[in-house]
């Protein structure tokens, strides 16, 4: 198949580009790219746009397939991909969600200012590393019995709260209140349950992390106030997902769905795009298992918040104050949502793989307190650069099914990063900049070095200038815990 080149792409606006449906015969809709032209030049380098074209061939796809400015090559869907298919007969594709089901981010806000804790930052980073199990295949402090596991998969974050690992108020500030009602644990394999039995409260490895930041800049005072953000305030960012349980759910159901495709006369250009009609038995089974894995991920981030709160108290005692959840949002998930397409409200199955839900003001699913200003969107950068808090807008609904970017996006392979980066030296340089890094290995530091990522500022400028999100605050890291 021919590679997408710049001459195949039409400019719609400065931030929106389109590969027309005529590019390939099997495309059912055009493929659209949200990016500045300079980012687009980078994006063309890998195979992500060909993957985007493949997504445009999915049965029942509506309007267009989309990628966000932080896009990079994935498998099946590109990372940063969004696609909506018609409900209930359109396709559901596990490749549009990814193996790390409900990988997502949560932001905790403290009541203290960065100046007040600077002398204790190194101790805080060490204590966080001690409290939060991280690294390759590492287990946590909680061992779930089979009946506990059933409850976690049904109740999500609520299970953590009922069992003393969280605070009830947290639930109001989690996407879908930390629980998807369609979850069915009986569709999660024993293998998946075994893999998840000791991983609650663990961040894993790769690009997952817990990070302490402070608010360096506020761009919208009113919305920042509603979000409870103030200049120089200390916040904690958590990035992880459903761990081995979610990986196994995806693996198991991709296998089932691949075998079932011929029954529905579905052919896809990439095996990782395997899909079935949403309302088929296999489609429903996957969706219900995916919801259970999503619930596990929300429970995981709730338990990690408990570990962060423990570390906080151990270092600051009573002076630390509360750590409240600003918001917790998924960036690898499929959800049934209603969007306006061709002037009519239609229910669709929105696949977001490395893309964040970004609902604007007055969206039904938002917590009451965010109803007037839009959903908080949390965009982690790389360690050593910065992260952002954005707000969803009504334009995000019009443009890409209420979706936005999810991070900086990789630009260097892990191997290339390891070759280029001297990890001990980088750790020292970051320390000199006032950023304490605790990691399981130097390899992990090198792979996740700032040089390995795109410029998060450019990614955020794109979504902000395009109007699909509003810049609210900029966060600067001071302590990073990695696997």
């Amino acid at each position: 198949m021919r590679k997408v080149q710049k001459e195949h792409i039409n400019k719609i606006t400065d931030y929106l580009w389109e590969i027309p449906q005529s590019f390939r015969q099997d495309m059912k809709v055009p493929a659209r790219i949200l990016a500045f032209e300079t980012l687009l030049d980078d994006i063309i380098e890998d195979r992500s746009l060909n993957q985007l074209v493949n997504v445009a061939t999915l049965p029942g796809i509506k309007k267009a397939s989309f990628v966000m400015p932080d896009v990079h090559e994935g498998y099946g869907f590109p990372i940063g991909g969004v696609a909506a298919t018609s409900y209930p007969h359109g396709a559901i594709s596990p490749g549009g969600i990814g193996y790390d089901i409900n990988c997502g981010v949560r932001l905790l806000v403290s009541q203290i200012q960065i100046e007040d804790i600077k002398p204790q930052l190194e101790n805080l980073s060490k204590e966080l590393y001690k409290q939060i199990p991280s690294g390759m295949g590492k287990g946590g402090q909680i061992r779930l019995t089979p009946s506990d596991m059933e409850e976690v998969l049904v109740k999500g974050a609520e299970w953590a709260i009922e069992n003393g690992y969280g605070i009830k108020e947290d639930l109001y500030n989690i996407e879908s209140n930390g629980k998807l009602d369609s979850a069915d644990p009986s569709l999660v394999s024993d293998m998946a349950k075994k893999r998840g039995a000791n991983q609650l409260g663990t961040i894993g490895s790769g690009n997952h992390f817990v990070e302490v930041d402070f608010v360096e800049e506020i761009y919208d005072k009113h919305i920042a106030e509603v979000y409870g953000l103030k200049k120089n305030q200390v916040v904690v960012l958590i990035h992880t997902g459903s761990r081995g349980l979610g990986h196994q759910v995806a693996t198991d159901h991709i296998r089932i769905i691949m075998s079932a495709m011929s029954k529905y006369n579905i052919k896809v250009p990439d095996r990782e795009l395997a899909c079935v009609p949403f309302d088929s038995r296999e489609g429903q089974n996957y969706f219900k298992a995916m919801c259970a894995a999503a619930n596990y991920a929300w429970c995981n981030r709730e338990v990690i918040s408990w570990e962060v709160r423990n570390a906080w108290e151990n270092i600051f005692g009573n002076k630390g104050g509360a750590l409240n959840v600003l918001y917790d949002v998924a960036h690898n998930i499929a959800k049934i949502e209603t969007h306006t397409i061709e002037n009519t409200d239609q229910m669709v199955i929105v696949h977001r793989k490395g893309a964040t839900r970004a609902f604007g003001p007055k969206s039904k699913e938002l917590p009451k307190k965010y109803n007037e200003v839009g959903q908080p969107i949390i965009i982690p950068g790389s360690m050593g650069t910065c992260s952002y808090v954005l707000a969803g807008t009504s334009k995000s609904h019009e443009t890409a099914f209420g979706s936005c970017c999810h991070g900086a996006g990789r630009r260097l392979s892990r191997r290339a990063a390891k070759k280029k980066v001297n990890a001990p030296a980088l750790k020292e340089q970051l320390r000199e900049k006032g950023i304490y890094v605790e990691a399981g290995s130097f390899k992990g530091i090198a792979e996740e070095a700032p040089i390995a990522y795109k410029d998060v500022n450019m990614v955020v400028e794109t979504v902000s200038n395009s109007g699909i999100a509003k810049k609210i605050a900029k966060l600067i890291p001071v302590a990073v815990i990695k696997g």
Partner: protein
């Protein structure tokens, strides 16, 4: 037996080649083991763990990916890395094999999944079996 790790923006792309189809499966297991515990499978001949695995799938390519996924999942549950394979039965849709490896306290790399992306078993011009495998990490 040839194992090459090729560039990929976020994940690991492994290209493997072998004279026989059985050899290709064995090469894949070794290549994956070397990712999970860097270079260990190259350095070891004596293994303390073994496990018998039966996998069914649609064709040779899906069978390889599904089999590797089974090896990976069982390895995670038992905290083990598998390096060597003794194949008892191999057809286009079924493999029965014994995998040999060792216990590890910690993995060097966490593979989230063995993906079907770019996997395609075929005989190349040198009349050897080859495929590419992308691991989600």
């Amino acid at each position: 037996m040839i194992i090459k790790y090729l560039p990929h923006t976020a994940d690991i792309r492994m290209a493997i080649e072998s004279k026989t189809i059985k050899g290709l499966f064995a090469t894949a297991v070794k290549g994956m083991g070397n990712i999970l515990k860097e270079g260990y499978c190259d350095q070891r001949n004596v293994f303390s763990k073994s496990i018998r695995i039966t996998t069914h799938s649609l064709d040779y390519t899906s069978l390889l990916i599904d089999f590797l996924s089974d090896v990976l999942s069982l390895g995670y549950i038992e905290n083990s890395v598998y390096c060597k394979l003794e194949i008892e039965k191999l057809s286009k849709k079924t493999i029965v094999a014994k995998a040999f490896g060792f216990h590890v306290d910690q993995f060097d790399e966490e593979i989230k999944a063995v993906t079907h992306h770019e996997a395609n078993i075929l005989k190349n011009k040198r009349k050897k079996w080859e495929t590419c495998i992308v691991f989600d990490i």
